[in-house]
């Protein structure tokens, strides 16, 4: 259906304008209206889910001529993987708006920035050519800049600038890669066409493929983030407001991994095979390093941020192994991590609203005053650790199984990451919830109210659902993964 894809970008964008049009006096209307408006893209997801066959690889749906003199079009399309990520994005935006405290919920700017963020992230997942991928990849910096800058914590200036500069530094490599691809496309076909179809029909020499792979992957890896390039992430998470953190961990980190899956590997496979070992080493270092650093954190939000580095390391390990099972596991782990870390950041946000602190030592014995909260937190922790029956297990198991034949030593080490995850999550749980109520302030604290429960419940259900019935998600990523796998196999078969 024409217009189906770009309406995922257009609807949130128009919603922002709507929100800004309401007069400031009617502040009580902001949140209900935004919730309603963010239901529309979700409804659209449902419509597509019911009416279209999405178990396919990437299909171009809409096309606009952008610069006709250079033959550059903006292309939008859908595949199973991008549909899942878009749905996750729309869902997380809705839930993060539901979970907002009064302070943020009454601000037009905050709600508008969230909607803009949704629009640009959707754009990345819909992009059918390099230029629109790049446009949305950079455009999402603008709402993120304001979300972190205006509503962030004490040290937000440093964190925001660091986040922006890291991303922009990465994106100039992507831009260079885009330009290089465009010129190569010009040399072979006479126009600077950059859509995925044209690129996949181009034949790159081995050195071109390596250079392009490095350019694109470096830019995306900063966003993932992979080990030595990760330092922006803990700062950004700690300073961002709760809703910003949810979306940052939930979908923004996936943008990087998505880019590698969509662009770097299928088009520049020779480069991938050259450098897959390097990426695998860095991801395993990330897994272990993130987990160890998470253990010693005193701030619960920072702990979850470092656990994100560890979990995204699993995703990158699965991708770098290049096996069918490991690639599938990586995509599933992307979705899972989005759900789980989104829920964890939301829960941290709830307790921060009550106590205005995130130091683990400021809590203790919370189980007595907040039994429901403790239960929800434990459930989510289990999902994050990878307890069988919950979603985290599925992805990590597939990744470790799948990558073992390629990197036996590395994936054996990576398996320790699961153990370390149990240590940092459960130890943090123990310190926060078990024991006696030492602090006076924690006695009066009230449990989750129904609104907050409603915000987190869908995520809990998804954790359980994916844990029990993972083949539902798997059926959607199957085609995407087989395209990637085939491109790897072709190159391996040739050599």
């Amino acid at each position: 259906m024409i217009g189906l894809t770009y309406s995922f970008v257009l609807i949130p964008f128009v919603s922002t304008i709507f929100i800004f049009l309401i007069p400031k006096k009617r502040a009580e209307l902001f949140r209900p209206l935004t919730i309603f408006l963010s239901l529309i893209p979700l409804g659209l997801c449902l419509y597509i889910f019911l009416n279209q066959n999405l178990k396919t690889s990437f299909n171009v749906v809409d096309k606009f001529s952008w610069i006709s003199a250079y033959g550059i079009n903006l292309t939008f399309g859908l595949s199973g993987m991008s549909f899942l990520l878009i749905t996750l994005n729309c869902l997380l935006v809705l839930l993060s708006i539901l979970s907002l405290n009064e302070n943020h919920g009454l601000s037009k700017g905050f709600l508008g920035s969230l909607m803009l963020l949704q629009a640009s992230v959707n754009g990345v997942f819909l992009a059918g050519d390099l230029i629109s991928l790049f446009i949305f990849f950079e455009a999402l910096l603008i709402p993120m800049y304001f979300l972190m800058g205006i509503w962030g914590g004490e040290n937000r200036r440093y964190a925001t600038i660091k986040f922006i500069l890291f991303t922009v530094f990465g994106s100039i490599f992507i831009l260079a890669g885009t330009i290089y691809t465009g010129v190569l496309s010009y040399l072979s076909s006479g126009s600077f066409a950059l859509d995925f179809e044209t690129i996949s029909s181009l034949s790159f020499t081995s050195s071109q493929s390596k250079i392009l792979f490095l350019l694109f992957t470096f830019g995306f890896l900063i966003k993932v983030p992979i080990f030595p390039l990760h330092t922006w992430l803990p700062d950004a998470h700690v300073e961002a407001p709760t809703a910003g953190s949810i979306l940052l961990a939930g979908v923004l980190l996936k943008v990087g991994a998505y880019g590698i899956l969509r662009v770097s590997i299928p088009f520049f496979t020779e480069g991938f095979i050259e450098y897959q070992f390097l990426i695998a080493i860095l991801s395993v270092i990330g897994i272990i390093y993130g987990a160890i650093v998470a253990i010693v954190q005193i701030d619960i939000k920072k702990l979850i941020a470092y656990s994100s580095i560890s979990h995204m390391g699993f995703v990158m390990l699965g991708i770098s192994a290049g096996r069918f099972l490991s690639l599938e596991g990586a995509v599933i782990q992307m979705i899972n991590h989005g759900i789980t870390s989104g829920a964890l950041f939301m829960l941290v946000g709830f307790i921060y609203d009550r106590r205005h602190t995130r130091r683990i030592s400021d809590f203790g014995g919370l189980k007595q005053s907040m039994p429901i909260y403790a239960g929800v937190f434990l459930f989510t922790s289990f999902a994050s650790i990878g307890l069988p029956g919950l979603n985290g297990f599925v992805g990590e198991f597939m990744i470790l199984m799948g990558s073992f034949p390629t990197f036996q030593f590395l994936s054996s080490i990576a398996a320790f990451g699961v153990v370390l995850a149990a240590i940092y999550m459960l130890w943090a749980y123990q310190r926060m919830f078990n024991g006696k109520l030492i602090h006076e302030e924690n006695k009066e604290i009230h449990d989750l109210n129904s609104k907050e429960l409603a915000a987190v419940a869908p995520l809990l259900l998804l954790m359980l659902f994916i844990g029990i019935y993972p083949s539902f998600i798997e059926s959607y990523v199957l085609q995407d993964v087989s395209v990637i796998y085939e491109s790897i196999n072709n190159i391996l078969g040739e050599s």
Binding site: I135, I164, I179, Y186
Partner: protein
Amino acid sequence: MNQISEAIGFNLIVISPTVALVITALILLFFTITIETKMIVKKVITFSGILVTLFCVFLKFGLFSQNGVSSYFTQKILLDEFSLFGNVLIGLILFLNFIPIWGTSYELNEKTSEAIILILMSASGFFLMVDAENLIMLFIGLEIGSISLYALAGLNRRDKLSNEASLKYFLLGSLASCIFIYGVALVYVSYSLMSVYDFALAIAYTGPDLIPLTTFIGVLLIFVGLLFKIAAAPFQSWAPDVYQGSPTGYVGYMASVAKAASFIVIARICMVSIRFILEDFEPFFFAVIFLSVLVGSFFASIQTDLKRLIAYSGVVQSGFILSGITSGVNGTSSSMFYLFAYILQLIGIFTIFSIISGKLSSNFEMDNMKGLMKNNRFLAISFCVFMLGLAGIPLTSGFVSKFILLTNLWAYEKYFLVSILLLSTVVGFYFYLKPIWIATIEKVDEPIETLLIKKSEYLLIAFLASLTILFGLLPNTLINISRWVVQNYL
């Protein structure tokens, strides 16, 4: 009589924009000296003069469609795509700047007409400059334009910085003019030619290997004189002081008009005159671009004065535009796009500055932007649009211009240049986001004075901001225009 005028190529339409502006200036002068007239009358005269000028530019298009590329007045005045593009650009700069210019001049009280006359004269000079085929004519146009600008910079006599700016601009500008005219002399020595077109023929005739050294030095000196006007490093030292010291309301005009005219002339010289020996100048241009990007980026990141920041960022942008112009046909076309987009953003930014800091003010500390978001949401958002456009974030014209420029440079295999320019955009994000942070995010405790904004200013800023976004979303038309400018050389 008719035959004589035909033989020397007498055609009033070709120089009609210049003539219209000079006549308007003279009428204003007449009214100022003789009869006491109301401000509104002068305003109407000025505005209708500008409108007539725009109409004259339109007439030139008609002439161009009849005659094509042609020269007039015994090879003094040229009618080609570059001159038409330059005419449109300068006419547009004059038209768009009318509101801030008039507002600023109005505050000068007794000197209102003086300021307006200076501006009209300078615009007439720059029109002549982009039309000139003869290098002496080019010099005359440049001088008419520049001398008025020197005076304009120092128009606020009570302000020390304004005096400093004027003197500095005048001294350094005269030096640059000397260098320019010396270059013209050297070129004349080697070929006894003045016309930019004949020059190319002479080079083609002698062949690139037998060109006398005086020509090289002469062209180099001509470039130095022009690079001074666009504030490319190492000739940038005047720009920050002049931007900072001049009355804020005029800076938008001063910065954009000199840059537009000089870039057009540089593009024409590169594209036409030295087309066959352009490669010999590559090291020189590379050094200039490299220094511009480096010096501009470094100094822009440590400025606390916003006008100085924009001046240094202009040095970086000049490096960008120059890199396209000096690399070939497609590069030139993308530079023309870049120039157009950049000038719209520049005018918008200085209009906002003139509203916030007062039109006659000189220095403009970054802290003055504090609380803009609370004070006036519209101004804050459009300020963000212009700044992000300069930084080159997607969805603004700045991104499109950088993208096509870098694509063309890459196609010319200038990989090193592309990497330098790309790295400079990262630094650019650092210093462009700083004022945005102060304007929109930084919290203010003390109460803020509400800004007085006229409806016309609202309209102007909204128009420029929406153009910045429009050319980012739908750049097709402007790109086709910029390709039309170089169509003869494709």
